[in-house]
Amino acid sequence: MMADMRWTWFHRLASPPYLYGLATRLTPWFAWPAALLILGGFYAGLALAPPDYQQGEGFRIIYVHVPTAWMSLMVYVTMGVAAGVGLIWRMKVAHAVAASCAPIGASFTVAALVTGSLWGKPMWGTWWVWDPRLTSELILLFLYLGFMGLRAGFDDTQRADRAGALLAIVGLVNVPIIHYSVIWWNSLHQAPSVLRFGKPTIPGAMLAPLLILLLGFTLFFAAVLLVRVRAEILQRERAARWIGEALGT
């Protein structure tokens, strides 16, 4: 009995009306802290933090670049875990979560690439450098696009779900392999023009806004994910009766 009780919350999550209601109620709890943390973090990072002794004011793009790069990877892991749950327990709403993750993750990846490129121009003198992190990020974008492309290729939602989930898991296994291969590759072909920065310890006044923003972006992702999951559930369950009740029509 105890074992059954312990898993009740999990089984309830599998019910679309329950998850829809939960997502509706939880969204503001993530959205408002996210808005406050991001606004506060940007103020602290752009106005309060001291300029870098080497990069001047230009380093401040780190406050967008690092959180987006961090999120691009975290969203992929979330997507892979949701896909795995969907595949193993045949949980339809988990597939809805995985499907909702992909466009968000791809957007974060694009944001990380664009800000990285903008940062590269003043620091490295070119818009693009085959730096291992930028290269990995670009490959990650292709992994997201492949996932979305595969899903779009099927008319049947269930097949799209299961095929996409398998691809997400294969991708999850491959991400570290690709990442370390790229690092290995780059260590052999280091472009001499690249200005190398050591790893100076970041002073607290610079680090604190970054940590605030990391948390803010994570909560922002959660809020956007919940909104997208609701939309995804509405679309999938559009024939179900509870939709009418939930929307009050």
Partner: protein, 250 residues
């Protein structure tokens, strides 16, 4: 396209096929895999024209570079590893179209899934057959492409070895993508989008090992990393491909 459309001579190897599906007791898994392998090889040798296509494609891509870059052998030698590996990757991508498509069309894959035998092993056998028919010829042809790019003959044994290891890994990784896109009408571009990012480590280590082989240095380290990828691909890729085929049959 289908088995029934083939000349009667094919029957010799296909006679064994019923034991795969309706045998009284389950045949040992390796015997079933061997049957699947010999069936695929027999079928392929009845349609030899198809076998030449990836090879011709490989040769054609190699031809493009001297035309596009420069006919100077000294310059071509510098880009030879990249040319060989990009050409091999694209040729093996092109060949993936043949891996499961015909068998999905005529229901053979369905029979495999229903046979009670391990689908993983059967697909592994199919992938091995596919590599013997497309990857191995590529590896054997690579020296000619390499020599035409000004690579010294002393590098040839190394290039063949590296290509053999790399193309097996490419075939196995590609099998996942081919299985995932089964049943789609236009899968070419999508197959590339799925397969190429996953194959990048093979490209990185393969090209690096080839570069070292051409320069006459020891290429053991990248070859070992390539072999590690191969071990991982042999272990995991047939499992993933089998799940993907099952999903496509649902």
């Amino acid at each position: 396209m289908s088995i029934t459309g083939l000349p009667a001579g094919v029957g010799s190897s296909l006679d064994a096929a019923p034991s795969l599906a309706y045998g009284a007791g389950p045949a040992p898994v390796l015997a079933a895999a061997r049957l699947a392998l010999s069936r695929d090889l027999t079928l392929a040798f009845r349609k030899r024209g198809q076998l030449l296509q990836p090879l011709a494609f490989f040769a054609l891509i190699t031809l493009l570079f001297p035309l596009a870059v420069s006919p100077e052998l000294s310059r071509l030698r510098g880009i030879a590893p990249g040319v060989l590996w990009v050409a091999a990757m694209l040729a093996s991508l092109l060949a993936l179209e043949f891996l499961f498509r015909d068998d999905a069309h005529d229901g053979t894959l369905e029979q495999y899934a229903l046979s009670g035998q391990s689908l993983t092993w059967l697909l592994f056998a199919k992938t091995v057959a596919h590599w013997l028919l497309t990857g191995l010829p590529l590896a054997l042809m690579a020296p000619f492409a390499a020599m035409s790019l000004g690579v010294p003959a002393s590098a040839v044994p190394g290039i063949v070895l590296i290509m053999v290891v790399g193309t097996i890994a490419l075939s196995l990784i590609g099998a996942i993508g081919a299985a995932l896109t089964l049943g789609m009408k236009r899968s070419g571009a999508l197959l590339a989008l799925l397969t190429l990012p996953l194959s990048l480590p093979v490209l990185i280590y393969g090209a690096r090992a080839t570069e070292l082989a051409i320069a006459g240095n020891s290429y053991v380290a990248p070859l070992q990393l390539l072999a590690a990828l191969l071990v991982l691909a042999v272990t995991l890729a047939p499992l993933a491909a089998a799940s993907a085929v099952r999903i496509s049959l649902e």
